[in-house]
Symmetry: C2
Subunit: 534 residues, 2 copies
């Protein structure tokens, strides 16, 4: 009986694994369990795995393997907010949601139809690869451009847009037999710190929450979203003590009772510093469950979390009724999922992974979200192709044959790449920040890959891009500008540009976005380029 | 009949595909055929595919798919000279062969036993993943340290060592039911230009070839090697007109008649500039076949090559007997291969991909090949971890959690990475080449990833590492030195080091090599590090 109870509690725990098959391929072994650990925990009844890393083909095999180890239904999820290809190469990687949020301000119906197709594409490919739970849409309202962690992941900058598009995504995704997840409840858009590192504070009143933060969640719930993920946030107006993830006032009183949500409530990763710094793995799981969560995501120690829950049931902190309710919600959610394909369908499923309609969706989203500053084209080189990105290591947006490298190369522009590990290109002079004498001479094509906080990049160093633009203009060396990612950075830089300067912006950073953008700057496909436009 | 003849000729062509499943994942689409092209060519009878790119799991699925498209036996090969993990992540990635060549000078039997295990490991894992043909061992004698293309890929610097170890590799690999391939006939070791770019010239007499170049091939043939790959080299002593790949004097008179080789002769990639610059795709294929090759690898245009061969048969340039002999050799080779596993065995095969014995082999090879300069350890930082490698983009040796980054980081050393695309770290002063004022202050841990030509890296720029060592010593800033790859660079730098300087060399560049080397320098495993020591 105690064994059965332990299995029941374990089924409410979701652990993290790598999408790659072998232990040596794990990118983050601190968080990603080894195969031996995964196998043991799944045999003991652990109910879900969140996956990161690996290609589409690897993910497909991995999901088969995990289901085999579990010997029964399993929740298999991933943070594929921007299409499955955002995390698993080979699947569709779509422009970030905020691009549609911008479109929605002008073309409401078109944007909503596209958001539904976006959800359908994500759900369908997730299902084909073996996932049954997409950890999206983000329902946070990105009304704070300095937000370092939500930003372009949000579907809108107003409650109306975020709600309309997030719920369209939910409809599309769930129509494919894959659960969606509205996050991060009750709203992470108006924060300027990163809960991966510390516990942000949202100082708003309940009235203000009703106006800004809650409407998108209400929309998603009305659309039938199967799950809601909690935020690691302090909301003193609702709970002066506990962060949202551990707060009964937020999860039970607000989400369950006031918003009437009857689906699965899942914590954000409990291993995140905002929670682990304050509670142990066991107590964090118990507190989250007591507060109203059904599923415990990525506890710092899965065994300890299960033991903690077991002790809490024994001590009467968790009632059998409450446990039954959570088990029933998990059962209901799994029953709504399309059945997995089976190993023998692997090659067929992979062969039809991206449909022509989904290819067309990728292209349409890129075309609609592209911003062009002028009709000018980049003059022929020789010149310098100066690329800024957070990190070149394992950068999916910059394979060796990326258009951002090859197309300027074919036009005479040699690449110099700046990231957090490059020798410093900075002068120390705020008015002329780039040490131009250390870089190749000639015209400069500047390509900025920036997401998250647009004003200070995570690559460190003295990155004042407005001053760099003015410096290059004063030196008559700015040959072109490409911004990939943040609309806020583009909106800050574009007013500085002469009317005829070749410049454009795409919210996407993937090779396909580069191809579309650079085409506009007069840099067509190069001979060796990847098949990035398909 | 003509259709049957066309299929027969097509079966002697080996085309190139990506190990990744979808067209958009191709890294080199100029050379890697699209899925539509592969499918059509295989349906038309093309007889083999050379694969590059993708993980072990992807390769397994890819081989299943290609066999399915072919509808019959297929040669599936890859350049996995240093273990299957050299090209396909997740499998064993072993130290380069030359490390065993060095060991062989001192411990002959031990080195030969290890080379056989090396071949067995490579063959076994190739078979489990669906390959039936390993394009190794390199039988070239690397008697020219400036060789830009063979170098550490060779098994020895003397004919005796290269022959003994290469034939041990052949025995091990073929015992697993996977064909091996001795390359690059008649010997590419004593060249200083790269046949990928131009046609190197080997000015030696037949007598000298008998002394140096040919013995390793004779050894491999005596060991029963199933195939021999030709070199794109000019050998005026043997053939004043044609490069080896197209020379009847080399392939028929020397290899078939004098050396008595009865197995498969395969060209090196015909698409390489050394050949394509001089002949069209069709004529190059016909010339190679006329010269004595059985299999045409990577013609610039497979259709054209097949049509060219068809026309040559019609015109009587290729006799039916000669064609039958090549078909028979291919048939015999395929009959010697272990049967493929089948889709239903995929998860089992992947789960047992690396055996404990193979893990132990990896560790043994690393331990035996490590060179340590002193017993000193790197002092605690803060300091600079200065890493040099050819390219950070898609660098399998430097994942974001690589020991070369994380271990010095945990010790207080911040990384700066130099590659062909970084802002210049050079001063222009040959006596003090590094512009130290542009780099972080404090002690410098220098980590050099150099293979191929050790004296001028392909990363470009002014790389004089002896002068850099002297500069850092003079500034009293050299905290440690790690060289990964070239023994020639290590032998050039080590004499410059003070006796107590923490320094070490590994022929391997993979994360596991970094872990083993840095352990010796007093930098133990960091918390977030990957499972790279397994």
């Amino acid at each position: 009986m105690s064994t059965e109870l332990r299995r029941q509690l374990a089924s409410l725990v979701v652990v993290r694994g790598s999408g790659h098959g072998s232990d040596g391929q794990r990118r983050y072994p601190r968080w990603e369990l080894s195969n031996a650990e995964l196998r043991r925990l799944l045999a003991d009844g652990v109910g879900g795995v969140i996956l990161l890393g690996g290609s589409a083909a690897e993910l497909r095999l991995r999901c088969e393997q995990l289901r085999h180890w579990a010997g029964g239904p399993l929740l298999l999820c991933a943070d594929v907010e921007e299409g499955v290809g955002q995390r698993f190469e080979g699947a569709s990687w779509l422009v970030p949601p905020l691009a549609l949020g911008r479109l929605h301000q002008r073309h409401r119906q078109e944007a909503e139809a596209l958001a539904e197709r976006y959800g359908r594409c994500t759900g369908r490919q997730a299902r084909l690869l073996g996932l049954n739970w997409v950890l999206g849409p983000v329902c946070d309202v990105n009304n704070n451009p300095a937000n370092p962690v939500i930003n372009v992941r949000a579907w809108g900058e107003t409650p109306d847009t975020a709600g309309a598009l997030a719920s369209a995504f939910v409809r599309g995704c769930q129509a494919e037999g894959v659960l969606a997840c509205a996050k991060h409840f009750p709203g992470h858009g108006d924060t300027s710190s990163d809960s991966h590192l510390e516990l942000p504070l949202l100082p708003h009143s309940r009235v203000r929450l009703e106006e800004v933060e809650l409407p998108p969640f209400r929309s998603a719930i009305a659309a039938g979203v199967a799950s809601v993920m909690t935020a690691h946030l302090q909301l003193p107006a609702l709970d002066p003590e506990r962060p949202a993830t551990l707060s009964a006032a937020v999860l039970t009183d607000l989400l369950r009772d006031d918003l009437g949500f009857g689906g699965l409530v899942v914590t954000d990763a409990l291993v995140m510093e905002a929670i682990t710094a304050h509670h142990g793995a066991a107590e964090a799981a118990v507190l989250a469950f007591e507060a109203g969560a059904d599923l415990i995501l990525m506890p710092a120690d899965a065994e300890a979390a299960i033991e903690g829950l077991l002790a809490a049931v024994a001590a009467g902190r968790i009632s059998r009724e409450r446990l039954e309710a959570s088990l029933q919600r998990r059962h209901t959610a799994l029953a709504a999922c399309a059945p997995p394909g089976g190993l023998e369908r692997t090659l067929d499923d992979l062969a039809q992974l991206i449909t022509p309609e989904e290819q067309e969706l990728s292209r349409t989203l890129l075309a609609l979200s592209l911003k062009r500053h002028s009709t000018s084209t980049v003059p022929p080189g020789p010149g310098l192709n100066l690329i800024r990105l957070d990190s070149q290591l394992n950068a999916p947006q910059l394979p060796a044959m990326a258009p951002a490298l090859l197309r300027p190369g074919a036009h005479g522009y040699s690449p110099t790449v700046l990231d957090g590990r490059s020798p410093s290109p900075w002068s120390g002079d705020p008015a002329a920040p780039l040490a131009l004498e250390r870089l190749s001479p000639g015209p400069v094509l500047l390509q900025l890959f920036v997401r998250g906080n647009p004003f200070r990049g995570s690559a460190g160093g003295d990155e004042s891009w407005p001053a760099v633009i003015q410096q290059l203009l004063a030196a008559q060396r700015l040959a072109g500008l490409a911004v990939y990612g943040s609309p806020y950075l583009w909106e800050q830089l574009q007013p500085l540009l002469p009317a005829e300067l070749p410049a454009a912006y795409s919210p996407g950073q993937m090779p396909q976005a580069q191809a579309v953008l650079l085409e506009q700057l007069g840099l067509p496909a190069a001979a060796l380029e990847g098949g990035f436009t398909d």
